[in-house]
């Protein structure tokens, strides 16, 4: 009986010591746990990004011209993008609310991204839960280190872009590549065939481009066929064909490289 009392006391003392040990370690453990789950949130976000976001924003967040802005970009983290759009809250809030609500229309200075961004949060009719939105936000924000390591630069457009300057010097174009671009086979971008048929007198959305090489010379006085085609691609509203509306995207100048443009012109010039 006495033995039980003694062992009982020892057991209580040992339990107290273990509990005290746990209590002392607790603040550290809680912090480690929180960091651990932050890590797991980023992991989940990475997986969600691969499934849902890379198609428009690029596999490594580098953005796709004309489709989705870069996320792994310095201006997202150094405050410039927030300033440009006049966002009053934190960068984290900006990322989270954009993912949650989507973008029905491009923001002002992002007219080169005409596509709508889908709504993702279930709160607003999208497919993802609130915690998944949080995971994606954590993943995007984790690009801060690599993004801030990029050199600071002003928001210049892609230096290789064809741009809207008609006097820019274009390299030699390859008609075969141009044909592939026309049909969207190379990058999936700008399939002109989606709007322009190659059958004479067949209108899909825009005017048929059958025999464009010949037609182009007659459209504007003083323009060579190449110049007309060049202008029609980068400044579509300049000379609208009668009976059509000015709805051709104006972003091709920013999206196409000079080589792309040269190839496209070369191809179209083969359509006599």
């Amino acid at each position: 009986m006495t033995v039980r009392v003694v062992i009982g006391t020892v057991i209580v003392a040992v339990t107290m010591m273990i509990t005290a040990f746990v209590m002392v370690n607790e603040p550290n453990r809680m912090k480690e746990f929180e960091e651990g789950y932050q890590g797991r949130s980023i992991e989940a976000g990475a997986a969600l990004y691969q499934t849902n976001c890379k198609g428009c924003h690029g596999v490594q967040g580098e953005g796709i011209e004309g489709v989705g802005p870069a996320l792994n970009a310095r201006d997202l983290f150094d405050g410039r993008r927030l300033e440009e759009i006049g966002w009053a809250g934190t960068g984290a809030d900006y990322v989270e609310s954009t993912i949650a609500g989507g973008r029905p229309r491009a923001s002002a200075s992002f007219s080169n991204y005409p596509q709508r961004m889908p709504t993702w949060s279930q709160e607003f009719g999208g497919p993802l839960r609130v915690d998944q939105i949080r995971n994606l936000t954590d993943f995007v924000l984790n690009w801060e280190t690599t993004a801030m390591a990029q050199p600071a630069e002003t928001a210049t457009p892609n230096p290789n872009a064809a741009g809207t300057n008609l006097n820019v010097e274009l390299p030699v174009g390859d008609a075969a590549t141009g044909e592939q671009l026309f049909n969207g086979k190379v990058t999936g971008q700008y399939p002109c065939s989606a709007c322009h048929s190659l059958q004479p007198n067949q209108t899909v959305v825009g005017p048929s481009l059958a025999g464009i090489a010949t037609t182009a010379t007659t459209r504007v006085d003083g323009y060579t066929a190449e110049k007309y085609i060049h202008e029609s691609i980068v400044l579509p509203d300049a000379h609208i064909v009668e009976g059509f509306n000015p709805i051709m995207p104006k972003t091709f100048g920013g999206q196409m490289t000079k080589q792309d443009l040269a190839d496209m012109i070369a191809y179209l010039m083969t359509l006599k």
């Binding site: 209580v12 107290m16 509990t19």
Partner: protein
């Protein structure tokens, strides 16, 4: 032994077994105390930064300009005031509570019975709609049934590395004029941090027109 056990409990000497039982009970009592303390620690709410009850870190640009009207910061439940010479030499300020120049974060809750007082521009003072307590921008009570000055939160001025440059002094303002007093923001301040879990109660003030 007969009923002698009940008669004189203090006279019979303690046996070893009895003593060991007492030691065991003491250990169990200590364990209960440890358990109680742990339960308290468990149950006390903790606040994340940005949550009322936690710390709010604001850029120094949020501070209103000197002597301008107080700036409302509803998420943290405090007013930000920047007292300059005009407010420091306000004739309505009670003599018992002289004012230093500088910034402070005043708790939005009236110290009378808990309503949120308003800033009345026309009268250039805080006025509580519930029972009419009135306070100057310095937080000092000048009228009404409240019995003390407004409470302030401890505020720290931080540089861009997060080092502390200045801090509101803790203490009892009734006896120590420096406790809860505003401080001038040192140069190099990039952030201010208001800790809404640390509140300094305003000094005792019940005289008509304000004062101890």
């Amino acid at each position: 032994m007969t009923a002698a056990g009940t008669a004189a409990p203090t006279t019979t000497p303690m046996t070893r077994r009895e003593f060991l039982y007492y030691v065991w009970s003491a250990s169990m009592a200590l364990f209960m105390a440890e358990f109680g303390g742990a339960s308290l620690w468990f149950a006390l709410p903790r606040f994340k930064p940005g949550e009322f009850g936690g710390k709010f870190t604001l850029p120094v640009t949020e501070i209103p300009s000197i002597d301008s009207e107080p700036k409302d910061y509803p998420a943290g439940r405090f007013w930000l005031v920047n007292l300059g010479s005009k407010r420091a030499t306000d004739s309505r300020q009670p003599a018992d509570y002289p004012v230093q120049e500088g910034v402070m974060a005043i708790y939005k809750v009236c110290v009378h019975l808990g309503c949120l007082y308003k800033w009345v521009l026309v009268n250039d003072r805080f006025e509580c709609p519930c029972h009419g307590s009135k306070y100057l921008a310095t937080g000092t009570r000048v009228d009404g049934p409240a019995t003390r000055n407004l409470d302030v939160f401890i505020m720290r001025a931080l540089d861009d590395q997060g080092n502390e440059l200045a801090k509101t002094q803790a203490g009892d303002p009734t006896h120590d004029p420096k406790a809860g007093a505003p401080f001038v923001l040192p140069s190099g301040t990039v952030f201010i941090e208001v800790d809404t879990s640390k509140r300094i109660q305003g000094g005792y003030n019940t005289k008509p027109g304000g004062g101890k």
